[in-house]
């Protein structure tokens, strides 16, 4: 059973290494990319481009598999509906991303780069997630 867990840690390490190498754990790099109308830094477009390119190949391979290599079945999102919640939530996320130059993955990876700052971000992020959980739980 432990063998089935190995892909998760491998993926996590690769992901964290990619975020750091690509500059996503550097808030100045991220905010430079978001500064489209000022002193624009295109680096993150290369990060996104490289990641999407590799993943596009993975999506071509995926339908040819009857099951994942190390699990019984695929658990993939199937929704296609565009809702105000999707758009409103994404809008809020973008504002937060712009304010501090951090999104969830780099915030967590940065715990070893600048532990104090990253911890404030991650704890606040979890608090935000908890707020949503509370409101959805009572709905």
């Amino acid at each position: 059973m432990m063998g089935r867990q190995i892909p998760f840690i491998i993926a996590g390490v690769l992901f964290g290494a990619g975020l750091t190498l690509g500059g996503m754990t550097d808030p100045a790099r991220v905010r430079g990319f978001l500064d489209l109308f000022g002193d624009w830094d295109p680096t993150l477009a290369f990060v996104m481009g490289g990641a999407v390119l590799v993943m596009a190949i993975a999506w071509v391979i995926q339908p040819k598999l009857t099951q994942p290599l190390f699990a019984e079945s695929f658990s993939l999102p199937s929704r296609r509906d565009l809702t105000p919640k999707l758009i409103g939530g994404s809008a809020l996320f973008g504002i937060g991303w712009g304010v501090a130059g951090l999104c969830p993955g780099p915030g967590i990876a940065a715990l070893v780069i600048e532990p104090f700052s990253a911890a404030i971000f991650v704890v606040s992020m979890l608090a935000g997630m908890f707020l949503v959980r509370l409101t959805e739980g009572s709905a």
Binding site: G50, I57, L76, G89, L102, C103
Partner: protein, 149 residues
């Protein structure tokens, strides 16, 4: 290598980082049949999501993130990026936490996994958070709000 017109850009490091992120997401998809969406996995690990992902698996993925960062720091040398002040980090974190749960994903789930699959929800989500991200930095710069020293 530098980009003409953008002396501060790091296109090769960016591309290399992107390929590693893509490989990570491919390991998740083809290996365990799941989306490498960090916000969703973080919510699952902390008991705030009812997904079928085992909590232990969620934690292993999350623990890998700083480990991967550490590997790059050891290989490439330590970098000391500047971070926002606690107030900005707190406000940003709250917005990111609320926004990614309402919006069902972040840069990884929507931006990398969903866009490469041409998921309509992810295309709209990514366009939306890019636009508000651009607008946020533009407005903060316009009013002289300095976040990073």
């Amino acid at each position: 290598m530098t980009l003409p017109g953008f002396p501060d850009a790091a296109p090769l490091a960016g591309l290399g980082g992107g390929i590693l992120i893509g490989l990570a997401a491919a390991v998740m998809l083809l290996g365990v049949g799941r989306i490498a969406g960090v916000s969703g996995i973080a919510a699952r690990a902390t008991g705030m999501s009812d997904s079928s992902l085992p909590k232990s698996s969620a934690w292993l993925f999350l623990i890998g993130l700083p480990l991967g960062a550490l590997v790059v720091m050891l290989v490439a040398g330590e970098v000391e990026p500047s971070f926002a002040s606690p107030l900005f980090l707190g406000v940003a974190g709250l917005l990111v936490g609320v926004g990614t749960r309402l919006g069902s994903g972040c840069t990884s789930g929507h931006g990398v996994c969903g866009m490469s699959r041409l998921s309509p929800r992810s295309l709209v989500a990514t366009a939306t958070f890019m636009i508000t991200g651009f607008a946020t930095v533009a407005i903060m710069n316009a009013i002289g709000l300095v976040v990073l020293s």
